[in-house]
C-alpha cells in the first residue's frame, strides 16, 4: 500500500514531535505524517529525568552556556552550531510552558532552575525529576491540535528510498497487520533516537536499537563520531535504570568501599557534579583498582543521599526514590544506592549540518539520531532534551520550506517488490540455526567488555573480530514467528541486524582514534591529541565494512584548552 505526504517524520519522541509541530505551524496546507514503532508517549524520551538547560535569567549568558557546552565536549563540538543552539533554547522552554508543561517553579511563580554537571550556572529547567516525561506528554498533547498531522502508531521503519541523491520516501511495517506500507514523501525527517541497546548494561529502553542510524548508513549517509558513547556515572545495579544526575546536583555523594568521597582526587572543584565522563572514569578507576563494593551483580559504588533528608528527596527526587525501592528494594532516605557507570547516550549519529540537513536532498535528522555536532566528545547533562527541542524545530521548519517548493515524489514499483521480497521471503519465516537473541547477548557482552569506558587496541580488535563473526552468523538467523500479525520476533530480529552494523562502526571508529577525548578513553593513548585528532570521524557503508574519513571541527570563539574542573 502506498500513501503520499509532504513530510514524513520517523520517530515520535521529543525531536520528532517538535518537528511535527514546527512544520504544522509553518503551514497548515502541508500534509505531515509522523510514524513510530510505539505510541508516541511510550518513546524513550519519557525516561529523561534531570532537566533541560537554557539561559533564562540575568546572571547567565549565551556565551557562558556555549562555553560550558564546548568545554564539556572536549572541544570536538562545532562552535557555530553550539552558539546557534544556546540562543534558541530559552524560547523553547517558554513555548513548552505556554503549551502546558508543568515546570517546577520558584516561590515567586517563575520557572525554577537547578544545578547540573558541567554547567557553571544553575540553568537546568526541570519538572520534578520526570522532565522528559512531562515534555513528551506536553508535546504530544500540543501535536493533537494540528489537523494536518497524521499519526501512524506502531509502524516499524524498514528502509529509506533514496534515488539520485534525493529522498523519495520510507517503507514501514504496520505492526498490527504485518503489511508493508510505503510512504511517498517530499521530505523525510529521521528522529529515531540513539543506539544504546548495543550495550548490555545500559539506561536505554528496550526499543532503542539505532533503527534510523543503521538504515541511513546502509543507504549511503555517513555516520559521524560514532565511537563517542557517553557512560553515565550512576546506573542502578543490576537493571541499569538511570539515577539522574539531579541526585548529585541536589547534593548526593559518591563513596567507595573505604567510605571516601573519592571525587576530591579527580575533580576537586566540582566534585560529584563534574561532567559525566570525568565522574564515570573516576568511578571506573576506583572499581578497577579494587575500591568498589562487591555484589552478585558485579562491582558498584555507593551513591549516598541519606544526608539530604526525606522532605527534600520527596520534593526534588521522587522518581528516584520510587525506582530504588521498587527495583532494588532500597530506600535512599535510609541507605546508599548501588550504582555503576552505565551506557547512556550516543553522541555520534547521522552526519548533519547546523540546519539538520544530511548529504541526501530532502533528508533531515534531528535529536539523538543526529550528530550536528553539539555535544562533541561528551554531552553535558540537560543538553540532550534541549537539542531535541531546538533541532526538532529546525528540522521541521527546514523540511517544510523544502517541501513547499518540491514536486511530488514516487517510490518505484521495483523498490516495492524488492522490499517485500527482502522482508517476507528472506526474513520472515527464514529458517536457520542461529537465535537472534543469542547473537544479541554475545554482542552486548563484547561491547560491555571491549568498547566500554577504558578501551585499548587489543580489546577493540577483539571486538571488531567478534562483531564480524556475529554478522556472519546473523545471515543464518531464524525468525520463529511466521505469522504477519504483530510479529515482534521479526521486529526484534531486524533490530538486531541494525545493531550489528552500528556496533562495527563504533568499534572500528574507536580502534582508529588513537587519542583520548571526552567519553572515548584509550588506555594506550591517554592524552588528548589536538594536533592529529581535532576532527570528526565519518563512517561510510560498504559491503566489506565501514570506510572512514575525517572532517575538521568548526571553531569560532574558543581555542581548545586543557579540560579541568
Amino acid at each position: 500500500m502506498k500513501v503520499q505526504y509532504d513530510i514524513v517524520i520517523v520517530g515520535a519522541g521529543l525531536a520528532g514531535m517538535r518537528a511535527a509541530i514546527a512544520a504544522a505551524e509553518k503551514s497548515d496546507k502541508l500534509s505531515i505524517a509522523i510514524l513510530a514503532k510505539t505510541y508516541p508517549i511510550r518513546c524513550h524520551s519519557v525516561c529523561a529525568e534531570g532537566g533541560t538547560a537554557a539561559v533564562l535569567r540575568e546572571d547567565d549568558s549565551f556565551d557562558l552556556h556555549a562555553w560550558d557546552t564546548v568545554k564539556g565536549s572536549d572541544f570536538l563540538a562545532d562552535q557555530d552550531a553550539v552558539e546557534f543552539f544556546v540562543r534558541e533554547m530559552p524560547k523553547e522552554i517558554l513555548r513548552l510552558d505556554n503549551w502546558g508543561c508543568p515546570w517546577s517553579r520558584r516561590e515567586d511563580g517563575r520557572i525554577a532552575q537547578r544545578a547540573f554537571g558541567g554547567h557553571s550556572v544553575n540553568r537546568t529547567v526541570f519538572a520534578a525529576d520526570r522532565t522528559g516525561f512531562h515534555e513528551v506528554h506536553t508535546l504530544y498533547e500540543r501535536m493533537l491540535m494540528y489537523d494536518n498531522v497524521d499519526r501512524y502508531n506502531e509502524y516499524f521503519m524498514t528502509n529509506l528510498v533514496i534515488e539520485d541523491g534525493t529522498v523519495r520516501g520510507v517503507s514501514a511495517i504496520e505492526l498490527k497487520t504485518g503489511e508493508l506500507v510505503f510512504f511517498e514523501a517530499k521530505a523525510v525527517i529521521l528522529a529515531t533516537g540513539g543506539a544504546g541497546r548495543l550495550y548490555g548494561f545500559t539506561t536505554y529502553s528496550h526499543q532503542v536499537t539505532g533503527d534510523g542510524m543503521a538504515i541511513a548508513y546502509r543507504c549511503g549517509v555517513p555516520l559521524k563520531d560514532m565511537e563517542f558513547f557517553q557512560f553515565h556515572p550512576t546506573g542502578l545495579v543490576p537493571s541499569g535504570i538511570l539515577i539522574s544526575e539531579a541526585a548529585r546536583g541536589e547534593g548526593g555523594h559518591l563513596k567507595n568501599k573505604l567510605g571516601e568521597r573519592f571525587m576530591a582526587k579527580y575533580a576537586p572543584k566540582m566534585m560529584e557534579i563534574a561532567p559525566r565522563d570525568i565522574v564515570a572514569r573516576a568511578m571506573w578507576k576506583e572499581i578497577v583498582e579494587g575500591r568498589g563494593f562487591d555484589s552478585e551483580h558485579g562491582p558498584y559504588i555507593a551513591l549516598d543521599l541519606t544526608h539530604l533528608g526525606e522532605e527534600k528527596i520527596e520534593e526534588r527526587l521522587p522518581l528516584i526514590r520510587e525506582a530504588a525501592i521498587k527495583f532494588v528494594g532500597i530506600d535512599p532516605v535510609e541507605e546508599p544506592l548501588p550504582v555503576r557507570p552505565v551506557a547512556h547516550y550516543t553522541m555520534g549519529g547521522i552526519h548533519t549540518n547546523m540546519w539538520t540537513e544530511t548529504p541526501v536532498k530532502g533528508l533531515y535528522a534531528a535529536g539523538e539520531v543526529a550528530c550536528v555536532s553539539i555535544h562533541g566528545a561528551n554531552r553535558l547533562g540537560s543538553n540532550s532534551t534541549a537539542e531535541c527541542l531546538v533541532f526538532g524545530r529546525v528540522a521541521g521548519e527546514k523540511a517544510a520550506e523544502y517541501a513547499m517548493n518540491a514536486g511530488d515524489n514516487h517510490i518505484p514499483d521495483s523498490f516495492v517488490k524488492e522490499e517485500e521480497k527482502r522482508i517476507y521471503d528472506e526474513l520472515l519465516g527464514h529458517s536457520g540455526d542461529e537465535s537472534p537473541y543469542q547473537i544479541k547477548r554475545e554482542l552486548n557482552e563484547t561491547m560491555d567488555k571491549n568498547v566500554w569506558i577504558f578501551r585499548d587496541e587489543k580489546g577493540l580488535k577483539e571486538a571488531v573480530k567478534k562483531i564480524r563473526e556475529l554478522k556472519e552468523r546473523y545471515k543464518n538467523v531464524e525468525v520463529r514467528d511466521t505469522s504477519k500479525r504483530f510479529n515482534m520476533d521479526l521486529q526484534s530480529t531486524i533490530e538486531i541486524g541494525y545493531m550489528l552494523d552500528l556496533a562495527e562502526v563504533v568499534a572500528m571508529g574507536a580502534l582508529l582514534r588513537t587519542e583520548s577525548r571526552g567519553a572515548h578513553y584509550r588506555v594506550d593513548y591517554p592524552k588528548r591529541d589536538d594536533e592529529n585528532w581535532l576532527k570528526h570521524t565519518l563512517a561510510y557503508y560498504t559491503t566489506e565494512g565501514p570506510v572512514f574519513d575525517y572532517i575538521p571541527v568548526k571553531i569560532t570563539k574558543w581555542q581548545p584548552v586543557e579540560r579541568k574542573y
Binding site: I41, N98, P102, K326
Partner: protein
C-alpha cells in the same frame, strides 16, 4: 522455577500456554516474559519499552489484577503460578497486545491541551504559576495512559465510554491555572459517554500504577459538569 500461564490469541482462537521460568532474586514479571521470548518461545507478543514504569507499555492482568509488568516483582506475588492475561475491556490483537487506538482517541476527544488565545508561537512569554497552583493539578499529570484504569471500570465493560483516564486528563487541564478552556472541556464531559457513566466503583483508583486517583478526578468533573449544566439551563 515458576509457572507462567499466559492467555494467548493468534487472531483466530484464544488458548492458554504455560512456561517454566527460572526466577532470580529481584526478577520482575517483564524480565520473566523476556526470558520466555528470548529462550523458550519467541512467538509470544507483548508490549514493553522503558522497564522503569514511565512509559506505560507493559500494563497487563497479572494474577487477576492489572499491573505494570516491569515493576511487579515475581516474588511479591507469592505464588508458584503467575497467570498473565491481556487487559480487559480492550480488543486483543495478539497474545498480550491489545488495541489502544480507541483509548487514545478518547483522550484526544477531551481536548487535553492548554487552551489559551493570548499565547504567541513566535514570541512566547513566561506564564506565572506558583508552587501551590502547580500542586493543585500536578498529581494528575503523571498519568501514563497505561489503560489499567479503563480495564477495570465496570461502566466501560458494558459500553464504550470516555473512561477514567480521559476524564482525568480533562480535569488536569481544568485545574491548571494557566488554562482558559475549562468550559469547552466540561461540555465534552457532559456528553452521553462522559462523566455521568461513572457510578463510583472506584476500582480505577485501586489499580492505577501511579496512584493518581482517577476516581477523584471524575467526581470533581461531575460537579463541574453539573454546575455547567445548570448554568446553561438558566441562560436559556
Amino acid at each position: 522455577m515458576v509457572e507462567f500461564r499466559i492467555r494467548r490469541f493468534n487472531g483466530e482462537e484464544t488458548y492458554w500456554q504455560s512456561y517454566e521460568v527460572p526466577v532470580k532474586k529481584g526478577m520482575t514479571v517483564l524480565e520473566g516474559l523476556l526470558y520466555i521470548k528470548e529462550n523458550l518461545d519467541s512467538t509470544l507478543a507483548f508490549r514493553y519499552s522503558c522497564r522503569m514504569a514511565v512509559c506505560g507499555s507493559c500494563a497487563m492482568k497479572i494474577n487477576g489484577k492489572p499491573r505494570l509488568a516491569c515493576e511487579t516483582q515475581i516474588a511479591a506475588l507469592k505464588s508458584d503460578r503467575i497467570t498473565i492475561e491481556p487487559l480487559d475491556n480492550f480488543v486483543v490483537i495478539k497474545d498480550l497486545v491489545t488495541d489502544f487506538e480507541g483509548f487514545f482517541k478518547k483522550h484526544e476527544k477531551v481536548k487535553p491541551y492548554l487552551i489559551r488565545d493570548d499565547i504567541s508561537y513566535e514570541k512566547p512569554v513566561e506564564l506565572i504559576q506558583t508552587p501551590a497552583e502547580l500542586k493543585a493539578y500536578y498529581d494528575f499529570t503523571l498519568c501514563l495512559k497505561c489503560g489499567a484504569c479503563y480495564s477495570v471500570c465496570p461502566a466501560a465493560s458494558t459500553r464504550d465510554i470516555l473512561g477514567p483516564a480521559a476524564i482525568t486528563a480533562a480535569y488536569r487541564f481544568c485545574m491548571d491555572s494557566r488554562d482558559r478552556g475549562g468550559d469547552e472541556r466540561v461540555d465534552i464531559i457532559i456528553s452521553d459517554d462522559g462523566a455521568w457513566r461513572c457510578h463510583f466503583a472506584a476500582e480505577c483508583s485501586e489499580v492505577c500504577p501511579k496512584q493518581i486517583n482517577p476516581a477523584k478526578a471524575v467526581q470533581k468533573m461531575r460537579v463541574k459538569a453539573a454546575i455547567r449544566s445548570i448554568k446553561k439551563i438558566f441562560r436559556w
